[in-house]
Symmetry: C2
Subunit: 143 residues, 2 copies
DNA sequence: TTCAATTTAATTGTGTACAATTTAATTACA
DNA sequence: TGTAATTAAATTGTACACAATTAAATTGAA
């Protein structure tokens, strides 16, 4: 086995398990989120809006690392489903403010149960969870 | 701050940094892979084929955690670009065997440089890399 | 003040992802 | 042997994801 093969081995890459684990975990979330009628990225938008009354598309993008090309159509879908409201800012017409509707706010109580259920399905120790989060956040802070 | 808000805080979730870090890292890969004319998932297919002469679509799916709905169109694009060859197995007509063309094989030497360049851009200690990989693999093995 | 530079969303086009279904081939068992 | 069950890809439809471009509003410097 030459050096090349070792470097390129799937099992030696850290990015591959990252890529694969993310998708598998998103799949675990799916049945839980389906009951709320949202996808995982839409759920993240809700989490932001549970914390802040109103955010702009730009702020959402900064928090979630997504651009308007992803957010605009996603927010339109959420608006169609009656979860959020999009409104041009009267202060600055370039800006679009996003906020929860009553229907969106009503989901918060259901959403509480998801992280709990989830941590029951993923069998990591508490300190492993913390370490994983620390390492991922360290990467995120660099890029 | 009530308990609910704490549970649902973006910063308290482990899945969010996982989701975000994966996409940010894939973006880091992009300029490197662009030179090879492939996307990140396509690069993963190449990695498998550098290790194994021929794999079926099913085997690819098992290794990369992807289904035919993703792989079939992706492999067709790679075939159009002259990187791989798709051929119905003569032993079992249901099966499609995938293998590298000469052009695909020629990429291996360029591909070697990518993990090296990449590890230079991500500033994690060697043991942190190992720990991250261990935790992600542990999750993958569960789901 | 004016107009060029910047900023914010939206749009366009390509490429994943994946659930659900379909099609064709193979296997298993009555 | 004949047919039901299973298997492997492909297809269909929906939803991200993101680079690149566009359009409209705002800002800033001459």
């Amino acid at each position: 086995m030459n050096v090349t093969k070792n470097i390129l081995r799937l099992s030696n890459q850290v990015c591959f398990p990252l890529y694969a684990a993310t998708r598998q975990i998103t799949k675990l979330y799916r049945p839980l989120l389906e009951k709320l009628g949202v996808t995982y990225p839409q759920y993240l938008v809700l989490l932001v809006l549970f914390e802040e009354e109103t955010v702009t598309v730009k702020e959402l993008g900064e928090k979630l690392y997504l651009d308007s090309g992803t957010l605009t159509p996603m927010l339109k879908r959420m608006e169609e489903h009656g979860l959020v409201e999009r409104r041009r800012s009267s202060v600055d017409e370039r800006v679009v403010d996003v906020s929860l509707t009553n229907k969106g706010r009503a989901i918060e109580k259901q959403a509480e149960k998801i992280p709990v259920k989830f941590s029951e399905e993923i069998l990591l120790e508490q300190d492993e969870f913390e370490e994983l989060k620390r390492l991922l956040t360290k990467i995120l802070d660099q890029v």
